[in-house]
């Protein structure tokens, strides 16, 4: 599996990271190196092996579905790059 410039551009888009056109060939090459290293996994016989979901056998704890905190609007917004009238502000999403 070899990654070309277009695939690199598609991955960057999916990851929502802007990559300049001129940087794409180098990025594709890096991906190919790393994926080449990962390809070793194809040597392993994984027939009948369950993919790991939890490294320690544990049942996730459950709790009663109830409100445990709230009324923290100021704190929630305290670090926002742009907060207005109690909301996070972003560029226009809907035309």
């Amino acid at each position: 599996m070899s990654i070309d410039k277009d695939t690199a551009a598609r991955v960057a888009k999916l990851a929502r990271i802007r990559v300049e056109d001129a940087d794409l060939p180098a990025l594709a090459e890096e991906f190919n190196n790393i994926l080449g290293f990962i390809e070793q996994l194809n040597e392993v016989d994984v027939e009948g092996v369950e993919p790991m979901t939890s490294v320690t056998p544990m049942r996730l704890k459950r709790r009663v579905d109830e409100v445990t905190d709230g009324d923290l609007q100021d704190k929630v917004l305290a670090n926002a790059p742009d907060a207005r009238e109690g909301f996070f502000a972003v560029p226009k999403v809907v035309q």
Partner: protein, 495 residues
């Protein structure tokens, strides 16, 4: 009263309880040491006022005669931990200016025990790196040098600031985190002790997430005893982390008897890598002999899937990172790119993430995105998770056969020069974690113990891997190794 900052936690605790010193004096000694340590670039956000306040409160508590072991002990905190009102950036530009409104469970546990925070410590960006060269704060410098050569060396990574600060006596101990070796590799590079506990032992709540199924926090300390004391204060069940184990925390320090007679120590043949430096091989042989001398039963073992641990890790960790780091979008906290007329929300995301994430973080997020993308999920991500099951089974098999702990080198080399790997393929850098990453994939406890110096005078460490939840037994084996190795070397102060 000089060099209080050079004390171990255990020594300081005893002196504090004996009223020979105060936490205020101890804290001032550390703050002074930090002031003169700019060349190391270990501390990146200093909190002297908070430290003095906490020290004064600790002195009151100690005077009352009812103080836990960590009371009044000045610590450095890795920048990955969210600390209320104090910058917590994971060494990333994307979290510029972020001051959490909450405290991580681990730092809260340490503060509840009376510990003092001196400041935040440098690290690799989002804990992704093995040399502390990916930080937005710049490189951390190792206090050790090669003989009289003044070339700057890496302290390792990602907990490089923690390693450098403890080795240089800027603090008594520090918190670290370990996703693929980020406590143990830097500990080995600077001649200190670092333990990654069993997955689930320490709460991950309030610790900036890198790869959630692998991340664990742990202490980085001057001695094994200090690791036992500090780990006990850090860990415990936390309802805010659903993967935190609801198990009693033993008195780890009380388990340090140094008696390992009859313990079975496994020596895995797959860790004997091609091209391994002779000195590392010798160190490993010496460590094996020390444990045998102490009464342990040495057994050759096989962990057949070891070779596949790094490639599996470089699927699983980036996959989880791509998901965890999706939250850095310029909306809720941290950096937002300046937008041009007509830019919409997608441009905002893309520009913000391109500006805010460094090259290594971008690379891993994109690799993770790729291995999770439609058509490749089974071929990469699911296959890696199956291999992970096999890697864990390798360990289960040897433990079931009676092995109590496994001895390996901690790193494939001593600390290397900053910039030395700049032109290397990223995969070359990843090989730093070849001995440590298996432990994260299997969720096991692992500890790095300094065991000797190489020809150039740099520290080398050995790693012990234990059974799940048996950190106490593992610490005791490490204690026996520490006693036998007798490592007491310190870097010569040049900074």
């Amino acid at each position: 009263m000089s060099d209080l900052n050079a004390l171990t936690i255990a020594e300081a605790r005893d002196k504090l309880r004996a009223k020979e010193i105060s936490s205020a004096e101890l804290t001032d000694a550390c703050l002074n040491a930090i002031e003169g340590s700019g060349a190391l670039n270990a501390f990146v956000h200093n909190t002297p006022e908070l430290a003095r306040e906490q020290a004064a409160a600790a002195d009151v508590r100690i005077a009352s005669g009812d103080a836990p072991a960590m009371c009044g002990i000045p610590l450095g905190i890795k920048d990955l931990f969210c600390t209320k009102g104090v910058p917590s950036q994971a060494a990333s530009a994307i979290l510029d200016g972020f001051k959490p409104e909450y405290e991580s469970t681990i730092t809260q546990n340490l503060f509840d025990a009376g510990s003092v925070m001196l400041g935040k410590l440098n690290m690799d960006e989002f804990a992704m790196g093995s040399s502390n060269e990916t930080s937005t704060y710049g490189d951390v410098v190792n206090p050790w040098r090669r003989g009289n050569d003044d070339a700057a060396l890496t302290p390792g990574g990602s907990s490089g600031g923690s390693a450098s600060a403890v080795a240089a006596d800027l603090c008594l101990a520090a918190t670290g985190t370990d996703t693929g070796g980020s406590i143990r590799q830097p500990a080995a590079f600077v001649g200190i002790t670092g333990i990654k506990p069993t997955y689930g032992r320490c709460s991950r709540w309030g610790v900036v997430a890198f790869a959630s199924s692998l991340d664990q926090a742990g202490p980085m300390t001057k001695t094994v005893r200090d690791s036992a004391i500090m780990l006990e204060a850090m860990c415990g069940h936390d309802p805010k982390d659903s993967t935190s184990a609801d198990l009693a925390v033993p008195d780890f320090e009380a388990m340090l008897t140094g008696d390992i007679k009859g313990k079975v120590i496994g020596i895995p043949k797959e860790y004997r890598m091609d091209g391994m430096p002779g000195e590392i091989e010798q160190l490993w042989a010496d460590g094996t002999a020390m444990l045998k001398e102490a009464g342990a039963d040495i057994r050759d073992i096989s962990l057949p899937h070891t070779k596949y641990a790094l490639p599996a890790y470089y699927v699983i960790a980036p996959a989880e990172a791509s998901s965890n780091l999706a939250r850095y979008d310029g909306v809720r906290y941290g950096h937002r790119a300046t937008l041009e007329q007509g830019d919409g929300i997608t441009e905002m995301y893309e520009k913000t993430r391109a500006e805010g994430f460094g090259a290594e973080v971008q690379r891993r997020v994109m690799i993770g995105t790729y291995v999770l993308s439609a058509g490749f999920y089974d071929a990469y991500y699911n296959r890696a998770r199956k291999v992970r099951t096999l890697i864990k089974k390798d360990f289960e098999d040897v433990f079931a056969a009676g092995v109590d702990a496994i001895l390996t080198p901690a790193t494939p080399s001593a600390a290397f020069g900053l910039g030395e790997m700049a032109n290397a393929d990223p995969v070359q850098m990843y090989l730093n974690d070849v001995f440590t990453v298996t432990v994260n994939l299997a969720g096991l406890p692992g500890i790095a113990v300094p065991a000797g110096l190489d020809k150039q005078g740099l520290p080398l460490g050995l790693q012990l891997i234990g059974r799940p939840w048996e950190e106490g037994d593992l610490l005791n084996t490490a204690y026996a190794l520490e006693q036998a190795a007798g490592f007491v070397a310190k870097p010569t102060k040049w900074w």
